[in-house]
């Protein structure tokens, strides 16, 4: 089922059809988890961020936006914001989150020092830089979708993105830059 069905399912969910909300969760939870994991590098925290993003969607239903019928960009932005300060974001849902079973994940997998360094560098950037990199680089969304969800012109997305990349690179060592360059070849 395509992402563009989100808008219909969301409307159904708001009318009281719980299964429609479940379908949106099914559609996006894996991608949202991968996105969150790249931001926090701890599986349990990534699980919480996924949950918070969906709970926030329900709590702030009036604020949910769609891009070409998909809720995913909004969920990604919400997850990125939550990841910046997980303890504060999760405070509202602490009771519910604590009731959920904790998955037995394999050991956290950010064992590659390059990944760790890139992750740390990302977290040192401003919220605006993190959002644009999360959407356009980590999630590879088209610039027009990022522009729509962030509410800025596409030219600004392009300029901000290249500048955010430059600032990110400023936090990385030559070794990781060399590795990234070789990955692109």
């Amino acid at each position: 089922m395509p992402d563009s069905d989100d808008e219909h399912d969301w409307a159904d969910a708001l009318r009281g059809n719980g299964e429609a909300f479940g379908r949106i969760f099914d559609r996006h939870r894996h991608r949202l988890f991968r996105h969150s994991y790249r931001l926090v590098a701890v599986t349990a925290d990534a699980d919480d961020i996924v949950s918070i993003a969906f709970l926030e969607a329900w709590r702030r239903a009036d604020a949910v936006r769609f891009v070409d019928g998909s809720m995913l960009p909004w969920l990604l932005v919400t997850a990125t914001n939550s990841a910046r300060n997980l303890s504060r974001s999760g405070r509202r849902y602490r009771t519910m989150l604590s009731r959920l079973p904790v998955d037995q994940h394999e050991d956290d997998r950010f064992t590659d020092p390059f990944d760790t360094e890139a992750h740390d560098a990302l977290r040192r950037l401003s919220a605006a830089d993190q959002r644009i990199l999360a959407l356009c680089v980590l999630e590879d969304l088209p610039d027009k979708d990022a522009a729509a969800i962030l509410g800025i012109p596409i030219g600004t997305v392009k300029s901000r993105l290249s500048r955010a990349k430059a600032r990110l690179a400023g936090h990385l060592t030559p070794a990781i830059l060399t590795k990234e360059a070789s990955n692109e070849r």
């Binding site: 969910a13 708001l14 009318r15 009281g16 059809n17 719980g18 299964e19 429609a20 909300f21 479940g22 969760f25 099914d26 939870r29 894996h30 988890f33 991968r34 994991y37 599986t43 699980d47 949950s51 969906f54 329900w58 702030r60 239903a61 009036d62 604020a63 919400t78 914001n81 939550s82 910046r84 300060n85 504060r88 519910m96 959920l100 079973p101 904790v102 998955d103 994940h105 394999e106 997998r109 919220a127 596409i154 030219g155 600004t156 392009k158 300029s159 290249s162 500048r163 990349k165 430059a166 600032r167 990110l168 690179a169 400023g170 936090h171 990385l172 830059l177 360059a181 692109e184 070849r185």
Partner: protein, 308 residues
């Protein structure tokens, strides 16, 4: 790379919770925040503070308020610094909730702009208006979310800044007059933009001027072999002391934006440009490492007809 996460008990249980939540009944939209009549707005009379009075602070030791004030102030001061600006008079900071109107007074001599720093302490939508004209809207602000801006104030006489928010939505705002040097595109950049089309040569020339500008200000930037859109890195000090903003605006910003849009708008796009390059017309054979040459030595792209 990382393995695909497996479905889990947690996911199943959480899904059940979502379904049950929605099944409870139609979502009841919250009433929109009440819009108070101007006469009933809680107003701050801040003209004195903004034009030389003491910094006003909330009489509280609430850690969240203190953190928000630090956040708002930090965001605004960082922006002023990046723009090479200086504050004029004493800044004002206040934490409040709901819709608030702030009397800014007249812009003092020597000031060119109003600087705002903002942090929300509760979730919600916050709208900033300057003399009744909206300048900032934060539709989904989360606690701790901050924003900063530099605005032009027009017209003589007193000015009014209004923050619109739901009655229970708390925020902190930091305000100051400031003198912000007006940065304009250099003559070279204006010339590159004048015909409405940016060529590859013009983009590289503008980037090289930006790079030279940064170097002259003591912040040489690291330029690895670059792609169609230059990749480079900027160190923190070059950003925080305003050098980067100054060099980018004067030498590169307009060209950079236009060049990137042209590439995407092109029917051939970056991939085809890369294919052209890979076809050895420019001799690298590597589609994504285009300018693996010393600075200023450009590949000859004339074999690719859609390039300048």
């Amino acid at each position: 790379m990382n393995a695909e996460p497996q479905p889990s008990d947690r996911a199943a249980e959480f899904r059940q919770a979502l379904v049950a939540t929605a099944n409870l009944g139609p979502y009841l939209r919250r009433r929109p925040p009440l819009r108070l009549a101007v006469g009933s707005l809680a107003a701050f009379a801040l003209a004195g503070a903004l034009t030389g009075g003491a910094v006003a602070t909330a009489s509280t030791i609430d850690p969240q308020v203190l953190a928000a004030q630090a956040g708002a102030e930090g965001a605004a001061e960082q922006l002023v610094h990046q723009e090479d600006g200086t504050l004029v008079g004493q800044p004002f900071i206040r934490s409040a909730s709901g819709t608030r109107e702030i009397n800014l007074g007249e812009m003092p001599a020597g000031a060119t702009n109003l600087v705002e720093g903002f942090e929300c302490m509760d979730s919600g939508t916050f709208v900033g208006l300057l003399d009744s004209k909206e300048y900032e809207r934060l539709p989904d602000c989360e606690p701790g979310g901050d924003a900063a801006g530099i605005d032009t104030v027009t017209g003589n006489g007193g000015h009014i800044l209004t923050v619109q928010a739901a009655k229970s939505s708390r925020f902190t705002i930091w305000l100051s007059w400031a003198k912000i040097p007006k940065l304009e595109a250099s003559g070279a950049q204006r010339k590159e933009l004048s015909d409405g089309v940016i060529t590859r040569d013009e983009d590289v020339a503008a980037f090289n001027r930006y790079e030279g500008c940064m170097g002259a200000l003591g912040h040489p930037i690291d330029v690895p072999p670059t792609s169609i859109v230059p990749s480079y890195s900027i160190d923190d000090s070059g950003v925080s002391d305003g050098s980067d903003n100054r060099c980018y605006v004067t030498e590169y910003r307009g060209v950079d934006m236009k060049w990137q849009i042209e590439l995407e708008a092109s029917t051939v796009g970056v991939a085809s440009v890369a294919a052209c390059i890979a076809s050895d017309k420019v001799g690298t054979g590597d589609p994504y490492r285009v300018v693996a040459t010393p600075k200023g030595v450009l590949p000859d792209l004339t074999g690719c007809p859609w390039i300048g």
